[in-house]
Symmetry: C2
């Protein structure tokens, strides 16, 4: 059951209170596909890089069983580059550099072998490009997941609202949910957003866990209390990748199974923030993932009886 | 198994985006004892009011089975009065009036019938007065719970640190935990705070639920996503009262039972914010409480299996 993931594959340069990286691999599709690869054996990416993108980093995807037939390599052009610096509390970050490069006129190519995909994850990217991918798939996937961020609400709201009508599930963070709906209460915001198109909504709350909404159903997932968040970059993409990867692996998109998928997504995100960039999620074992999922289950279990 | 609760019993005047009250009953001991009364049949308060405090409001306590032998009524004096106004998001509030009145020289009296108490809740109040109550109990209660707030960290830190050494369990909110420990990570903050005295710590996170820490154990409790928070006043006191009341009722202070107590405390707090002041928690049925606890259980339940 193949899972197609679209998003950026890029270079990042990250500074946190704990250190600073050189140019390392980043981008929504990189983070999400690596996370999804632990669950689905048929992860296929649609992205674009320049010829400065190292061959060995593409081979990293292959080692994780990720198909890169839809990854365009533009000769004579440069990969997208983002540099950012996190404040002391790691909740705010300043963008230091954004060089769009190949992303400026990204025209996604869908290889024939991607056409039968059952699940589609539209990673954080220009909404109009996300829409193009949906239109270029001849058969509508069974589940279309959209991840986005406040930047697109500020700069491309009409396109975003348009693509929202075409998807099944949206993942955003709490501040973004409030901004998109114009409601402070997350419950009210969720109801409004589900009227914009997606039947299901995941609100990511970082250290406070995540909420899953569908019709009148709500699920609250805990987050693992962490000693230290080392680098939050990519955690949202990894959540979306782990979540969608788990759904693709199990082929079950019931609300009950989505709850479990939120837990797997949260577990993957909790690994992501432990090291810079993709370092931690490139090197995980199924045993580690299961252990962390069990930790989340243990963390939030309790028993009640009528009093 | 009696539960003694100390704290203020007072008048509040509250303004939220949804409306404004006249002088209504408030104070930590009022909120906490009403919440605890649904669980324990032996709730006894230690507090002080002026002769302006209406007899019918004292009878409200009696109707809830609360003993007021330790409630001093000072002739010719006035009750503590606080007026506050909440901002639009209800997360920040401005204090408009604080009249200490009888609280200025509150000297707590412990009636003989209180001396055998098994559980003690030191509601939010001057730390030195909280300490006096501990010292005036001839037999140390099995469980001493302390609730406090940032105001005392700013104005009476030494006394607070002193009383912290004498208690078993502390309840504070996330910002206060960060302030007290000087650590941003709540896990690190919790470890530091548990070295200050209390073996167990509850960090209240409002709309994000609560965390319970003891040694290396952690429990994450969900919060009910609410349509609207009408008035947050007293929610923390109600949490502490419901939590301690449940422990007093069951007589079981194991970590497992404390997890359930956190859920009952959260359920009570979720009622509290639905109406102004104590209105909602004065008028609850066991059936409503059980239904909400079941809702919290439903909200956070999921199943995992190795993948």
């Amino acid at each position: 059951m193949s899972l197609v993931i679209i998003g950026s594959v890029a270079f990042d340069s990250i500074e946190t209170p704990f250190g600073k990286t050189g140019k390392i691999v980043g981008g929504a599709a990189a983070y999400a596909s690596l996370a999804a690869s632990y669950f689905s054996k048929e992860v296929k990416i649609v992205a674009v890089v320049g010829d400065d993108f190292p061959r060995e980093d593409i081979e990293d995807f292959h080692r994780h069983g990720i198909t890169t037939e839809g990854l365009q390599v533009k000769e004579g052009e440069k990969s997208f580059f983002w540099a950012g610096k996190y404040q002391q509390d790691l909740n705010t970050r300043d963008t230091l550099v954004t060089e769009l490069n190949v992303l400026a006129d990204f025209d996604p190519v869908i290889p024939e072998s991607y056409q039968d995909c059952r699940h589609l994850l539209l990673g954080n990217l220009t909404p109009s490009v996300q829409r193009t991918v949906i239109k270029r798939l001849r058969k509508r996937p069974e589940l279309i997941v959209l991840d986005t961020m406040n930047f697109w609400m500020d700069t491309a709201l009409d396109d975003l609202l348009d693509v929202l009508k075409m998807v099944d599930l949206l993942t955003i963070n709490d501040e973004e949910a409030r901004q998109l709906a114009g409601e402070y209460s997350l419950l009210k915001a969720a109801r409004k957003i589900m009227k914009m198109g997606p039947r299901t909504l995941v609100i990511k709350k970082g250290e406070h866990g995540a909420l899953l909404f569908q019709e009148n159903k709500v699920f609250s997932a805990p987050a693992l209390p962490l000693e230290e968040v080392f680098d939050p970059t990519g955690a949202g993409d990894v959540f979306a990748g782990g979540f969608t990867g788990y759904l693709a692996k199990t082929g079950d998109i019931s609300f009950e199974n989505m709850k479990t998928a939120v837990i797997y997504g949260s577990a993957m995100a909790s690994f992501c923030v432990e090291k810079f960039g993709t370092e931690r999620i490139k090197n995980l074992s199924p045993g580690e993932i299961n252990a962390r999922v069990n930790q989340l289950a243990e963390l939030s279990s309790f028993s009640v009886s009528s009093f």
